[in-house]
Symmetry: C2
Subunit: 378 residues, 2 copies
């Protein structure tokens, strides 16, 4: 009766839209934003340039870049009422729960909720401020208002740490690498929400909640938990063997689309190894050993480290607590989310799939009720 | 290069799961929950019985029903801190934005966020309280705490109006009719979010944001706006002709799956006509005239009134402001959302579809930058 073969589990291989935003070749390990290799962009451009590129389709002229940088910096402040509400939140709240809640609340104070570039820019700025403010509040520190003169990455780190750290240029590249990746689960959830012609806040809130899961953005936090649990180089093999024998998932490996080395992971791995030459990067030795074991054991299954495997090691090296890792993913990916939300509206069609029904049929309330009463009476 | 034919726009006709929760026959206009016709349930059961049925798969015994009723009534209170935050919200906030925000904030105070029946029950109770509290706050009235002795529908209306109104039995039936409908857009968004193994709050928050759109639950509010705009019986034909000639959508008609009369709309229409025999139901004459025009004009296109066409007229008759209509949909549908979220976990697979890429390829940052600089210099 129910033919399971018709079911597109996880929508694997199902094409849901036509998009000119990014191209992902999982077999060759390539990711391009608007035709530019993500590595090329990470090495040569800035987050602001990439945001312009993803939203508007081409690299900005100097004038266009100045315009966007200025718009982004103008939009950084949160409404005072929203900051006051954040102050009331329990300090042990997870940053992703806070981010999701505060973006939702923003809609009560910022009345324009259209699926527009204006709101895409505003949310990109404000999500960085929410993340930094929550970092300060959580740690019992006074918040540091944004500095308009600084770039997006510099300002974010300044709001967190009170100064622009040396690693800011690398953080900017991390934002670029996380900004977009085709129809991943969080982007898709934002598209589903906006396909009912709901609003920009609702769509981005859906994306944040979806990114949070450990099978998506939440993996970067879990990877660091795993590395902490392993603790030292000599424990790696034991951990690996135990996970394999229990057939459990090793965090940070495998990807629905990449069947070779994730180009972003490759770049992060290179940066980490370079950093490690100067000053020891904690957990890198454990990670590289674990990678070696996974690659040699699962070569045929094409399981490689993904972007979340290395990002946490880098953020940890920067002194960012692991609870904030997924938020760092979100404040970059909001560019991709909003680019897709707006692009899909050009050809919007409500997402409304189907299920195969596998339950009973033809039941009558009265008959079943009589039967239940009879059984109870027995 | 990009073959548009491969794209499953809106996932129309694509099966994404196997489910035993509801069966929808769009050709015959049938909707069954767990094998029971929705009309049979609306006429004979209660919201609590239907919630039990949808969540656990069978009608409850008396004992089971007592257990669920008691669990639901125990879970009605909101944490005091959450009520205090609601008090800070601007009074002109849309109830759906408030509902989405408060459900998100609940996760900061209620630490168990698992994809569990416990949380399904808790959210079903609390969402009704949020809706009623916001109704009171918005109107500058003191909130009325829940009364444990009352049923779900009675208590909700009591929290709104300070008494259990005569129409409560009909409101209970409305909750039943709205409780579930297969993989509609909001349910689907909740499944996408929870497919990353995110949490129950994130998933329900996605669903609320998705339901809000006028192509989904938001339609009931828009229908009443339309009826108000038409204003009187003699304007119906002019309005209809103007909309048809401008090829604009007439709110409350058409459905992705139903290609005949929506069984829920049929039932509501009947109730409205019965009520109208006692006391004139405002806008019903306008609606019936509009229905007549649409049915005769678009017979071949199989366009019929949907659930949102009549629900607003009934809620308006009950004295509920139209801004709250979609919230009334949400506080019922949360049962279906959570039933599907939990069912999908039994066979969870991350939703990760694909896009066909239609943009440029092989661009180089340096080359394009040089080109831009040259053009600007000219």
């Amino acid at each position: 009766m129910c033919t399971d073969g018709e079911v597109k589990w996880g929508l694997e291989g199902v094409v849901v839209t036509v998009s000119s935003i990014s191209y992902l070749d999982g077999e060759r390990g390539k990711l391009c934003y608007r035709g530019f290799d993500v590595e090329d962009l990470a090495l040569n451009s800035s987050f602001e340039e990439v945001a312009y590129l993803l939203w508007f389709g081409s690299l900005p002229t100097k004038e266009e870049l100045n315009w966007l940088s200025s718009e982004l910096s103008k939009e950084r402040e949160l409404p005072l009422e929203v900051v006051k509400i954040m102050e009331l939140f329990p300090r042990d709240s997870h940053p992703m729960d806070v981010l999701r809640s505060v973006v939702s609340i923003l809609s009560l104070y910022l009345k324009d909720n259209s699926l527009s570039f204006k709101n895409a820019i505003s949310l990109t700025s404000k999500m960085a401020t929410i993340a930094a403010y929550w970092y300060r509040m959580k740690n019992g520190l006074p918040i540091i208002p944004p500095d308009k003169r600084l770039s997006h990455a510099d300002n974010f780190l300044y709001m967190m740490f009170g100064e622009v750290p040396k690693f800011s240029h690398l953080f900017d590249k991390m934002l670029i690498l996380h900004a977009e990746q085709e129809i991943n689960a969080s982007t898709f959830s934002a598209m589903v929400t906006s396909s009912t012609l709901s609003d920009m806040y609702s769509a981005v809130v859906s994306a944040i909640g979806t990114l949070k899961g450990p099978l998506h953005g939440g993996a970067n936090e879990r990877v660091l938990e795993m590395l902490e649990e392993i603790g030292s180089l000599e424990n790696v093999e034991g951990y690996f063997n135990a996970m394999v024998s229990r057939r459990e998932r090793i965090m940070g490996f495998g990807h629905r689309v990449y069947k070779t080395y994730d180009p972003r992971a490759k770049l992060m791995r290179k940066w980490l190894c370079e950093l490690n030459e100067g000053q020891r990067v904690k957990y890198l030795d454990i990670a590289l050993k674990l990678e070696e074991l996974v690659l040699s054991r699962f070569k045929d299954k094409k399981i490689y480290p993904n972007v979340d495997f290395f990002s946490g090691i880098l953020y940890n090296h920067f002194g960012i607590p692991k609870e904030f890792f997924t938020v760092l993913f979100a404040i970059a990916r909001v560019v991709g989310w909003t680019a897709h939300i707006i692009e899909y509206q050009q050809n919007n069609r409500l997402f409304r799939p189907l299920a195969i029904y596998s339950g009973p049929t033809g039941l009558s309330y009265r008959e079943v009720k009589e039967q239940i009463d009879k059984e109870v009476a027995l």
